[in-house]
């Protein structure tokens, strides 16, 4: 199970591909369940990078927890939430995002 992530060009904020656009939270990101879907995400990422919307594009492993997408690796969990030492900063700072992360 994978989703597409990147950082937004203008401000560097971490974003995830969802519903044909880039969302600031991971919770509802588009999931690739098989290799073909994964390739499609890769292609979307490459096109978005080439189009200078985002940079540092990656396809990452996720699981579903309580109906929301959650990254598997700690690195990606922290990217999706914010610095663990500053619950007041990053995505986790807004209650809605915190649930999604």
């Amino acid at each position: 199970m994978k989703v597409l992530t990147a950082n937004r060009l203008s401000d560097g904020i971490a974003v995830w591909y969802a519903d044909g656009g880039w969302a600031e939270t991971v919770g509802h990101a588009d999931i690739a369940y098989d290799k073909a879907a994964e390739d499609r995400l890769e292609a979307i990422g490459a096109a978005a990078a080439a189009n200078n919307e985002v940079l540092d594009v990656n396809v990452i492993d996720v699981t579903i927890v309580d109906g929301l997408v959650q990254p598997v690796r700690l690195r990606e969990k922290i990217r999706a939430a914010g610095p663990t030492i500053h619950p007041d900063l990053g995505k986790q700072a807004s209650p809605q995002a915190a649930r999604a992360a």
Binding site: N7, G12, I85, H86
Partner: protein, 556 residues
């Protein structure tokens, strides 16, 4: 303090204009990330996990209050209200938008600051002893030489595309507080028998995945030959340093693979060609740069003794702060003060916008407008009259920056680690915070004595773990964080690389392990003043291994 001349002003302004244009073109989609990346890195803009990161050069760690106020302003207006001081005496902002970077650089330029050469394979910010110009044990202020090196190395055409990054550090005292032997070039400013100034030159130190202690290749280089000799070193490195493998590209590998004698011979040969050229520094130029660093006029303040004595009696906490964070100055009526950015449980090196402003006020009022950033991630007021120490202390208490832990176990160096850094393999800050809380009792910390604990979140070693008395390296193993401990490292005039003590510890175990190491030390030291590092050098790793791993099967 050094002031920009017309050339510096024009150069920095031109760079701001150039990079602003590049940012504009990038945001308009006219240049790709592949094209832009080297340009942004040349201007200190990295990409981390959550956002961009901007690294601001603080040459040889020297700041004035105007500059610190500007950093506070930037933190408030463009970032999230704080900044992070690093082991390279620089400041990093973790959240700037790319679109705001041109405005930030313009603000910085207005106070003679910039982000040039804070990244890339060039000569980076030259670091120096944070007590430079104030230390009682100093032969001469090393900063004028650091400034000469800065001018020489800034956009040096020959040395802008080196095999890898290049770091130079300078100290002017026997007691090395600048970790010069952990740098690509380390310079120890000293006097020869005739009383002339010059340098002992070390080359090939570095941390990262292959830590090495620098080798001394010259015992005394006359000060006038600083640039000719450094040019010779850089030429040999530029020519023979490996470009095939970035992990083998630092000069430490070249020195190691070539051998010290041979590399010294090559450098000497190169230098013979250079030493009587225009690279020889004219005496007048050295003195002119020195004049910028003229110490403030320190008037006699003999009332300090009585005032300090009385204040000590009145306040135990002031007295403890005095013992720990205040050191002697070359002028007997003055002292140098360490402002600890290591409050118990706080993030090492982080400081808020309002703290920066308050510290700027203190520096202006009591410290001749001078501040330093130490490579240990603290701030320094280099010149404070002893008569004003209590007032400075009271002002620091008010902003929560009076923790009396300089050089103690909670004065931890920590890199940003996985909370911010895209290269990290584990978090480092939370480990620092938990250890700091565990050893919160100042009484206990003082009982333990000097202990340098340093943490990095990956093998790049930005947190200097290899040269910590206790070093902690965070790695990733089977998807979880694991912390390897090294013991016996040191970054002073007796630099050594710590040895891995055994299997790593989980994030739940690491603080207990550190406590066990400390308790083992307390149990075996010969006297209360036998420091951890001295005891370790006497007994070696065995008792610590025994304490940590006894009872484990060989297979573990």
């Amino acid at each position: 303090m050094y002031r920009y001349d017309e050339f510096d002003h024009d150069f920095v302004q031109a760079r701001v204009a150039e990079f602003s244009d590049q940012v504009k073109r990038r945001l308009a989609g006219e240049i790709t990330e592949d094209q832009f990346r080297p340009l942004r890195l040349m201007n200190g803009v990295y990409l981390q996990l959550h956002a961009y990161m901007l690294r601001i050069a603080v040459p040889y760690g020297t700041l004035n209050s105007r500059q610190l106020r500007m950093l506070a302003h930037i933190a408030r207006k463009y970032d999230k209200g704080y900044g992070h001081f690093t082991t390279r005496q620089n400041l990093q902002f973790h959240w700037p938008a790319l679109a705001d970077v041109p405005a930030i650089l313009a603000d910085l330029a207005s106070v003679e600051m910039h982000c040039i050469q804070t990244s890339g394979n060039c000569i980076r910010n030259v670091t120096a002893d944070h007590f430079a110009g104030a230390a009682a044990d100093e032969v001469a202020d090393p900063r004028p030489y650091a400034e000469i090196l800065r001018q020489w190395s800034s956009v040096h055409p020959e040395f802008s595309y080196l095999p890898r990054k290049f770091k130079i550090a300078v100290t002017g005292a026997e007691r090395d507080r600048a970790a010069i032997q952990a740098h690509d070039i380390g310079l120890h400013l000293k006097k020869n028998a005739a009383g002339e100034l010059g340098f002992a030159v070390y080359v090939g130190g570095g941390l990262g995945r292959t830590p090495m202690v620098a080798k001394k290749i010259r015992d005394f280089l006359p000060e006038a030959e600083l640039l000719s000799y450094c040019t010779a070193i850089l030429r040999v490195y530029n020519l023979y340093g490996r470009r095939d493998n970035k992990y083998k590209a630092r000069i430490k590998i070249l020195v190691h693979e070539t051998g010290v004698e041979e590399i010294a011979r090559q450098i000497e040969a190169e230098w013979q060609e250079l030493k009587d050229t225009e690279l020889k520094l004219p005496e007048a130029d050295i003195r002119a740069i020195n004049a910028y660093f003229a110490p403030p006029a320190l008037s006699a303040r003999p009332e300090g003794d009585a005032l300090v004595k009385q204040a000590r009696l009145d306040s135990k906490s002031f007295s403890e702060w005095l013992d720990q964070n205040v050191v002697t100055h070359r002028h007997p009526d003055y002292a140098a003060v360490t402002i600890s950015l290591k409050g118990i449980g706080e993030v090492p090196g982080d400081v808020t916008d309002s703290q920066m402003e308050a510290v700027a006020d203190i520096a202006e009022k009591y410290a001749f407008d001078e501040l330093r950033v130490s490579h240990e991630q603290n701030l320094i007021l280099p010149h404070v009259a002893r008569a004003d120490l209590k007032a400075v202390y009271d002002a620091l208490v008010e902003i929560g920056l009076a923790t009396a832990n300089s050089n103690l176990i909670s004065d931890i160096i920590s890199c940003p680690g996985l909370d911010y850094c895209s290269l990290a393999t584990a978090r480092s800050i939370p480990v620092a915070q938990e250890i700091s809380r565990r050893f919160a009792s100042l009484e206990r910390q003082r009982e333990i004595g000097e202990l340098k604990l340093k943490i990095s979140g990956c093998i790049n070693a930005c947190g200097h773990h290899h040269v910590g008395h206790i070093g902690i390296l965070g790695v990733e193993k089977k998807g979880t964080e694991l912390y390897q401990v090294t013991l016996g490292g040191s970054a002073d005039e007796n630099t050594s690389i710590g040895e891995i003590i055994g299997r790593g510890f989980s994030s739940e175990e690491i603080t207990d392990a550190i406590e066990q190491i400390v308790d083992t030390y307390l149990g075996l030291r010969l006297r209360p003043d036998e420091r951890f590092i001295d005891a370790y050098r006497r007994v070696g790793p065995a008792p610590f291994k025994e304490a940590l791993y006894a009872g484990e099967t060989k297979a573990a």
